[in-house]
């Protein structure tokens, strides 16, 4: 479904992502792990078009996406969240969701002025769907609140809900559980599993190892811009290179 071929990205003299190739078929939930600075977020930025690749190709389905603009990539069903939670602070919680509805007729000026009935009908449908999603992320009672006033954990949930509103085929989550409490992590895991059941592919960057082992069917491990492991989580824990990347080489101390 997502195919990355020999992708490289450098910033000045630093090679952040070095000749990475990987593919995600309908795995369900796939993890991307690695020490800080190993190039995970840079890879996500390239998949979603926020960074241009220096070399290499990225395909989503049959479509070459490595030259597309971010909004075009989002429109074909590959939608991301950000590492730093980014709700739209001065819009209501409900509007945060509504704004993510895909392909809205009401975003064309001609429809706004000349086809108000179509816009209204579409808006009502979106509203219904948004309320369902608010229910799913337990924010129903917050619908008319400014999103910037929600707690950090609620903002994380809202961000996931917003991605969902965009009717994605695959979502990219950049550290979804960073900085939230264990109860909320459980809730998030349930939501992510629910998405998988709906047939949405999930690709996530995560530092919480037990969580990765619990939910991911497959993981990729990066270190210093290179891919050093791909396989099931339990094998990763026994892989010498992965252990080295996280704990350092033993002979370095001696």
């Amino acid at each position: 479904m997502l195919r990355i071929e020999n992708v490289t990205k450098g910033f000045g003299g630093l090679v952040a992502v070095d000749d990475i190739s990987l593919r995600l078929d309908n795995t369900g939930i796939t993890g991307l792990i690695g020490p800080n600075g190993s190039g995970k977020t840079t890879l996500f930025h390239m998949i979603t078009g926020f960074y241009r690749v220096d070399h290499g190709l990225i395909y989503f389905g049959d479509k070459l996406i490595s030259r597309l603009k971010p909004h075009n990539i989002s429109r074909i069903g590959l939608v991301r969240t950000f590492q730093q939670t980014r709700v739209l602070p001065f819009l209501s919680t409900l509007d945060n969701l509504l704004s993510a509805a895909p392909d809205q007729a009401g975003e064309r000026l001609s429809s706004v002025f000349f086809r108000p009935a179509v816009v209204r009908r579409e808006e009502n449908e979106s509203r219904e769907r948004a309320m369902e999603i608010l229910e799913l992320v337990s924010l129903t009672s917050m619908s008319d609140q400014l999103a910037g006033m929600l707690s950090f954990g609620q903002q994380k949930l809202l961000e996931i809900g917003r991605v969902l509103m965009a009717r994605p085929k695959m979502i990219l989550l950049d550290e979804p559980t960073a900085g939230i409490n264990p109860t909320l992590i459980r809730q998030l895991v349930e939501i992510i599993r629910g998405l998988k059941k709906r047939g949405i592919q999930i690709f996530l960057i995560e530092h919480n190892m037990p969580l990765v082992a619990e939910i991911c069917e497959k993981i990729f491990v990066m270190d210093s811009g290179r891919l050093i492991f791909s396989g099931i989580p339990s094998e990763a824990r026994r892989d010498a290179r992965v252990i080295e990347a996280y704990l350092g080489r033993e002979d370095r101390a001696s």
Partner: protein, 294 residues
């Protein structure tokens, strides 16, 4: 009485001007410091065409179109700049437009200005035409305000606000940021052009000194004071500012100090702007009324 009609007309024209800036500044978060350029282009285009004998309604429509085209011409290069740089580009654009008015004498008569701009024939010239012109302005202001409200409450307006809040999120949600901003600027420019047309045909004399940075600051103040991102805030702001400006004329200022009034006025505006920023950044009418904030 005629004086009151005059103030109301000017306030309404500034109301339309303020609504047009609000589309860019309030909803889309674009700090356009050269908005007066489109007011000026609308005014000059409509005035020149009107003077050449075209019916006023047609000249006004063409004046609005010219402002819209100018908006597109500015938007395409300037929107590739972000934040402060966009603001600087718009500021420079407005100065270029003003210098064009000053220097292209074959067309604009330069600093002499254009006298004798006709009013729509059904309104009538001079003081006798004031009530009808006021009616004309009221109708147009209502039309513009309702158009702006339709826009702001639509998914299009919501998308503009998404761009204002966070461009990266907008892109991640599939919004074409450049296209949305361009459309906002064109729409805002057309409406600013309308305000300029009204101004030219009302005052009947325009010159380059009507279209300076001062006017941009004045309309900016209308929007910020009234409440940016709201439908009626900018109109309210325009009324307050214009009435305040006119009220100053009645202060018993000795003739020797008359020359101090204009700079003093500028100081008061600056002070008010700082005070709003500190005490009530959302303006008199708040965009967030009706939403819970705690």
């Amino acid at each position: 009485m005629d004086y009151l009609l005059h103030i109301l007309i000017v306030a309404l024209i500034y109301g339309i001007f303020a609504i047009s800036l609000n589309l860019e500044l309030g909803y889309t978060g674009l700090y356009n410091f050269g908005h007066v350029a489109f007011f000026g282009i609308g005014a000059y285009t409509s005035a020149l065409l009107g003077l050449s004998g075209l019916p006023v309604s047609l000249s006004m429509a063409l004046g609005m179109a010219a402002a819209g085209v100018a908006g597109a011409l500015l938007a395409i290069p300037a929107l590739r700049l972000t934040g402060d740089f966009f603001g600087i580009a718009t500021l420079v654009f407005a100065e270029m437009v003003r210098l064009f008015f000053v220097n292209e004498r074959w067309l604009t008569k330069g600093p002499m200005g254009l006298p004798g701009i006709p009013r729509p024939s059904w309104i009538g010239e001079g003081i006798a035409g004031l009530p009808m012109f006021l009616l004309f302005c009221i109708l147009l202001t209502l039309l513009v305000a309702l158009t702006s409200r339709r826009l702001a409450t639509s998914p299009f307006g919501r998308a503009l606000k998404v761009v204002r809040e966070d461009e990266y999120v907008a892109q991640a949600l599939g919004k074409n940021v450049l296209s949305l901003k361009t459309r906002a600027i064109i729409f805002g420019s057309v409406l600013a052009g309308l305000a300029g047309c009204l101004w030219a045909h009302y005052i009947s004399y325009i010159s380059p000194s009507d279209f300076t940075l001062n006017e941009t600051i004045l309309v900016l103040l209308c929007v910020v004071l009234g409440g940016k991102g709201t439908n009626w805030g900018p109109v309210l702001g325009a009324f307050i500012i214009i009435f305040f400006q006119e009220a100053l004329r009645f202060l018993p200022i000795p003739a020797d100090f008359g020359r101090l009034v204009a700079p003093l006025q500028g100081m008061v505006y600056g002070f008010v702007l700082i005070l709003i920023m500190l005490k009530r950044p959302e303006g008199i009418v708040s965009e967030y009324r009706g939403l819970r904030q705690c």
